[in-house]
């Protein structure tokens, strides 16, 4: 497969009177054709900055980017017609109707205006198309934004938090829409904080934290790679669970005693070893389940953003923050 989007070593420093902030610090990303690719990261990790840079809205301070095989920003005008994008709840001129807004964009981009009703229907705005955008609700504006991105029948669709403000039905519709688009051959790059959603619809993901890629790959790969290998063990009733724990610890495992008759075991060579060790001492199990990590666990672990009780985590606190300062580096 050929990548439709490649970023390597991307750097962006925002400068202001207060100092400089490294929003992107050598970021890499690859999106293969035909995929739905999830782009994840905590608040302020650089997702929007990456997408803006890719789309020519801001100038990078270093790095290399290609879109659809062409180097950008240099050749962006050549590929812009095939890249549909929304960047962080886009705003529109409020006094125009949805229809006018889209038909103006269609004119500007040389796309057939006849497609406008089609995309408005697709995002569920058909009956409100003749109303001014400023009268729209948050979710309706978001739908309009998605419609604008779809208007040019893109080969690559870049969506920055498209589910922002959508109702549950809308989110599910968006999921279906994305599946359909992907099935029709479109590549979708999707940034979102709704990890369950990402896990459901994405083929692969990139996780960013503090402006650097911390992991990437297919969803299954990422989950497997960060599988804790923990196993939940339930013992037969009336078994001495302290004894069982001791046996496993002696074999080098990390054991947490949970509720009655239940242990969580880490760092063992495999479930088979647990059964063997315990059976030798005539302790028998009635249940043995590997604890599967989900994307959220992996995300929290990798980005170091797991909530800690009694601590209010600040936005720039994350896995990489220990080695970095914020403003004024």
């Amino acid at each position: 497969m050929t990548p439709v989007l490649e970023i390597s070593g991307l750097r962006k420093t925002y400068r202001s009177r207060k100092g400089a902030r490294n929003a992107l610090d050598g970021f890499d990303m690859v999106v293969e054709a035909g995929q739905v690719h999830g782009f994840l990261g905590p608040n302020g990790s650089g997702k929007t900055t990456t997408l803006r840079t890719l789309l020519g809205l801001i100038q990078p301070d270093g790095g290399h980017m290609t879109l659809l095989g062409r180097e950008v920003p240099r050749h962006l005008p050549e590929v812009a017609g095939r890249v549909g994008a929304i960047v962080e709840s886009p705003q529109f001129f409020g006094r125009f109707t949805a229809e006018t807004t889209l038909s103006l964009l269609a004119d500007a981009g040389g796309v057939d205006r006849g497609r406008v009703p089609e995309v408005l229907d697709l995002v569920g705005l058909r009956d409100r198309a003749k109303e001014k955008v400023k009268t729209y609700s948050l979710g309706m504006k978001q739908r309009l934004a998605v419609a604008s991105a779809l208007l040019k029948k893109p080969t690559l669709l870049i969506l920055d938090e498209p589910a922002n403000g959508l109702d549950p039905g809308g989110i599910r519709e968006m999921r279906t829409l994305m599946r359909d688009l992907s099935a029709s051959g479109m590549t979708v790059l999707l940034s979102s904080h709704i990890l369950a959603e990402i896990q459901l619809i994405c083929d692969s993901v990139t996780i960013i934290s503090a402006g650097r890629r911390i992991t990437a790959g297919s969803v299954a790969e990422v989950l497997a790679r960060h599988d804790s290998g923990a196993v939940r063990v339930r013992l037969e009733p009336d078994t001495d669970q302290e004894e069982a724990a001791r046996i496993l610890r002696e074999a080098g495992a990390q054991v947490t005693v949970e509720t009655a008759g239940q242990l969580t075991v880490r760092d063992v060579t495999g479930p088979a070893q647990i059964t063997r060790l315990l059976a030798q001492r005539e302790i028998y199990l009635c249940e043995l389940t590997p604890i599967a990590a989900d994307l959220e666990d992996v995300f929290l672990e990798l980005t170091g953003t797991t909530p800690v009780e009694g601590h209010h985590r600040q936005v720039d606190e994350n896995a990489l923050a220990a080695s970095q300062d914020g403003w004024g580096r």
Partner: protein, 336 residues
Amino acid sequence: MSLVRAETRRLFRRRLTSVLLIGVVLVLAAFAAGTFASNQKATPAQVAAAKQEAMRQYQQAAADAGVQKLRCQAAAPGSAEAADFPPNCADIYTPRPSEFDYAWFLPETFDLRHEFPEMIALFALLMAAAAYLIGATFVGAEWHSGAMMNLLLWRPQRLVVLGTKLGVFLGWLAGATVLLGAAWAGTFRLIAEFRGDTGGMTSGVWQSFGLMGLRGLGLVLAAGAIGFALASLGRHTGMALGALIGLTAVQIGVYVLAGFSGLQFPEAYLVPLWGYVWLYQREVLEDWSCDGVTTGGGCMPETFTMTWQMAGVGSAVVLAVVVGAAMWAMRVRDVN
């Protein structure tokens, strides 16, 4: 071409564009109607009566002067009475018939040849103000609402986008100004026909009106371009309006500083004066400080004649700097 079409549609879809244009037309119409109502055509009888009145007043004044001269000559030198008169009785002022213009005694009548230049200036100023506002909101609202960012996602060529917007706006502005200007001239030609005087309207006079009109068009386009460029620089319509206030302050500062630092004609640094000179072709600035240049106790001021060419060059530099800055900022800035 598609961008040109899109921008044209956008310009005319904006309600403010139509509101301002209609507003300008209404003000102009009201002004023309007022001129029409307050003037009337002088009938031959009125002209004859006015001439008679002028002659009568002249004769009255001449007679009065004659009486004074006689009294002067009769007064014994050195007497108290003689002190009321100049030493030489011939110095007593004698009126001349040309000093009594019969036009004073006619009802208000519209003299196309002499009054139309003022009308051109009025038209140009009104259009320039509207152009400034339309230009500023056309791009200002676009930036502020985020619509510009969306547009850039479709057309990443930034200079092309901003340049097309400006070009489309100026093109339509020029069209509208020429059309309205022609209607304005036609209206006053008719007003002069029915409520005034079309005397002395040689082709040379029409030509000079035409040239003044062209300079007026230049003023309108420049105002539009500057409003547009300032709003684009500040990414907000309000920026153009704020800049206007700021510029006024700077102008006053420059004027005061120029005066302090002993520059001879501080008024020459006032941009509004350039606009005036640009329209009326020349203005003579006077320096009344009279450093030693006195003739017979009177003060002959030094003068400086500012021509429309000078004003034009000055304004062109300002225009180029502002529009250039807007384009440069468009090219390099981060769009958030």
